[in-house]
Symmetry: C2
């Protein structure tokens, strides 16, 4: 039976981390809300014994799992996108959780006062938060990914071990979001993370990912999404 | 061999979610930085192949795992604080990840502009964010916990199944933080979540938790911690 992914229509959002794994694996899945509308999300949540706090969540027969990183933990072994060894499986998940933290910080740059108010209602606060994000947080996270690649005993081709995991795909998504949202910043600092850049470039060339990115299943970036391009938050050239 | 927990000294912080599980289980553990100083955290991270982005992290022989929820995922089965069934094990982890999101939001109330600046440098922004936290986010999270207890097919004594998990202990810690940081808010809305309140009260009475809470291993709440009591962020009485 096909996996059922429940996530908002109209944006890449957190659903995209799951989609990239499903697409890379060539898995059979239904993007439920895109077929039946956003209402399908609440309709399903109303009755289930284990309702997710927020989308995305995934249904696989009797299993319903929410939280992006937990979905990928569940799918990893099934899609051939996680190491078999328990210790490395956990390490892959740990990296994914840190990516989730990074993504939330990228979102909070334009919503420092809270997700329930529009960006236009919190522009001065966003400008302050963006400074710290650019100068301290992005370098700290990217240095961490570069360090992981450097220290990987199996080489620097992948974040974990010597084959692709869902964490590599998610890193691709984060870098793609940063390039979109912060082009000036990334032009300035992006070269400082050559192993991250090389990994991300290789992922963009993977056959199934390439097909996916060119398909209409891959939505364009936008200012409704997690990563947004507001030039005033991108700092000086 | 004893588990080694690496976390900052001086605060409960995210380390406390791990401590509560270790204490409830009566596990043998060393709180490394409290014995050897905060420097032990960086010293260890400098050399390990799988460095955590931030504390807490746990060492168990060859295994090193960071991210609070991943640590608890690892410890859950070993400490008898997670269900045996795979589906429920994942559900427990999903709840824990949502608790982690809630804790981060509680922190960001006093640090909306970023963690690298003092609260005193972002008081007006904090006041704005606190409004949304009190009116929208706290009710949304607490309603979710109450709903989980209502829908648990095994009854409302625990969040998952019919026995204690680390997620119950973490919910206790969150409620304890909210009561400390937002006494006026909790006096106003706390009664609206009777199943959550009853669970938390039972946890405080568990023999090992009771001993732990009275010990000097349990640090007091403070304005250096994740949950802080700033009356100006607590709203009207």
């Amino acid at each position: 039976m096909a996996y059922e992914l429940y996530y908002w229509t109209g944006i890449q959002g957190r659903g995209e981390y799951v989609r990239l794994a499903l697409e890379e694996a060539g898995a059979d899945y239904v993007d439920v809300a895109r077929e039946r509308g956003d209402r399908a999300i609440a309709d399903f949540s109303r009755t289930v014994a284990t309702p997710s706090f927020a989308p995305p969540f995934l249904r696989d027969g009797d299993v319903v799992v929410g939280q992006t990183a937990a979905i990928l933990l569940y799918l990893g072994g099934r899609l051939g996108l996680a190491p078999a060894e328990e210790r490395l499986k956990l390490w892959t998940h740990q990296i994914q959780l840190t990516i989730a933290d990074f993504v939330l910080e990228a979102h909070d740059v334009h919503h420092p006062v809270g997700a329930e108010k529009y960006y236009e209602e919190q522009k001065p606060e966003a400008r302050r938060r963006a400074g710290e994000f650019r100068e301290a947080r992005v370098p700290k996270f990217l240095t961490w990914f570069e360090t992981i690649l450097e220290r990987n005993p199996a080489g620097d081709a992948f974040l974990v071990g010597d084959s692709l995991t869902y964490a590599d795909l998610s890193l691709f998504q984060v870098m793609s979001g940063l390039d979109y949202g912060f082009p000036r910043l990334m032009a300035r600092v992006g070269g400082g993370y050559p192993k991250v850049r090389a990994l991300v470039a290789r992922i963009a060339e993977r056959p199934r990912i390439k097909v996916y990115l060119a398909s209409d299943r891959r939505l364009p970036n936008s200012e409704d999404d997690l990563f947004r391009h507001y030039p005033e938050l991108d700092g000086a050239a």
